[in-house]
Symmetry: C2
Subunit: 230 residues, 2 copies
DNA sequence: CGTCTAGCCTTACGCCGTAAACTTACACTG
DNA sequence: CAGTGTAAGTTTACGGCGTAAGGCTAGACG
């Protein structure tokens, strides 16, 4: 038995394997459950071995966040700037929903360092798309802030709401959770909140994406009008 | 010497004193520097004593977040709904900037529990102001999401950018930091990003608030138009 | 064959949150 | 007054965290 029948034959650790396993762990249990010891165990290795492929935990976290940011689609420039930006924004929204732990880390990075390349590429793409469409530098300045903050901010906002709904106990049916919330809410004191929660119960699936695009359209419409009146 | 000349005479711990000290610690060193042991030391007490006034660390954190949310001004209903909502939003923005650790915790609460009273009051106020202005339930549903996510999301977005600028090394002059960033940026690859960073250098102080209101106005204008065309 | 080196492991340190058991101080009751 | 109950603070201890320091081993290369 010359081959890998023995437990001795371990597939060697690589930075890729480490990062991939880290993303898997974070996807499954949230970023706070990503631990050097647990990650090592997952890879059949001791914790300190990870440090041969990763400077420290901050470096590890930064790296996996970069991988997620790298998933964002940056469409090649088309004729319709609104459509291009919307496609990018929706793609970012989806990527961040796939990895719910990443959004908070992009918004408030723990370790401070030079902005990583994937984030730079994304920023440059958005700025370029605006400027080449004819936006003035001044309008682009504000438009970028409004767009980027909506993409990241709304997504984290949505995640905060749905995660808390899912986590509050085992049941992952959001409608049922909101229903329970409604029943314990003193509806007399909060009639409009009760109405709002009720709307969430009856909302169709995929409602989060629709809300995201509602706010996005508000911003894009406003920008379009601002550009035309300028 | 019957009075408090002796070190024995300690002002007794109360929940208020604990929460107040916790906010002070978090304001100074960020939420991750808020530790039961450090907080106790700050109060001249042992860590375990805190548990007489606070269920656990999650309870403590929830409580101080609630205090911050409670600082948000909810104007009594005036004639101009845009002005009322703007006042509330700006007040929330300011409160969250005063306590930079709070925004992330409101957006993605660590401990899950029933929504706390201050948050309920805030939500109800905003929903009520929209509905009583004449917004349909459907439009209110989306308007609330757009507004709340902008208030929290943009603020966290802004904090993430300014904090990373401040923390990267000792100098707290943001312009100087951006300048350093600019010099190390391969400007040939990122011309628009360089332009954008340059704008930040020359931006007047208080620019964050202006950006916040730019996005807010975009949303409010869109909502106003949506209500009129409906 | 000897030596170098990269990759992994072992041990250890100082943090963290907090359970459990204790001491103390005081208020109330007989 | 003594006796007792209770609330507040302390001590000790446990398991988990990130990671510094150093040891071990297997293959590469002269």
């Amino acid at each position: 038995m010359p081959a890998d029948a023995d437990s001795k034959a371990r597939t060697p650790l690589t930075r890729e394997r480490v990062l991939e396993a880290a993303i898997r762990l974070a996807d499954e249990g949230g970023i706070e459950s990503l631990t050097m010891r647990k990650l090592a165990r997952e890879l059949g290795v001791e914790a300190m071995s990870l440090y041969n492929h990763v400077a420290n935990k901050g470096d590890l976290v930064d790296a996996i966040v970069d991988l997620v940011v790298g998933e964002i689609e940056l469409p090649s420039t088309g004729v319709d700037w609104v459509a291009d930006i919307k496609r990018c924004a929706v793609s970012a929204h989806e990527a961040l929903l796939r990895h719910p732990w990443a959004c908070g880390l992009v918004l408030s990075p723990g370790t401070i360092r030079a902005l990583p390349a994937p984030r730079l590429r994304y920023m440059e793409w958005l700025l370029k798309r605006l400027r080449e469409t004819g936006f003035s530098p001044e309008l682009t300045y504000h438009a970028y802030h409004a767009l980027d903050s909506h993409i990241l901010g709304f997504t984290l906002w949505q995640l905060g709401h749905s995660i808390s709904a899912i986590d509050v106990d085992g049941s992952k049916d959001l409608a049922e959770l909101v229903d329970k919330f409604l029943r314990q809410l003193p509806a007399a004191d909060y009639p409009y909140l009760a109405e709002h929660a009720q709307q969430h119960v009856t909302a169709p699936s995929g409602d989060g994406a629709r809300q995201f695009e509602f706010g996005l359209d508000l911003i894009l419409d406003g920008l379009k009008r601002a550009r035309e009146t300028a």
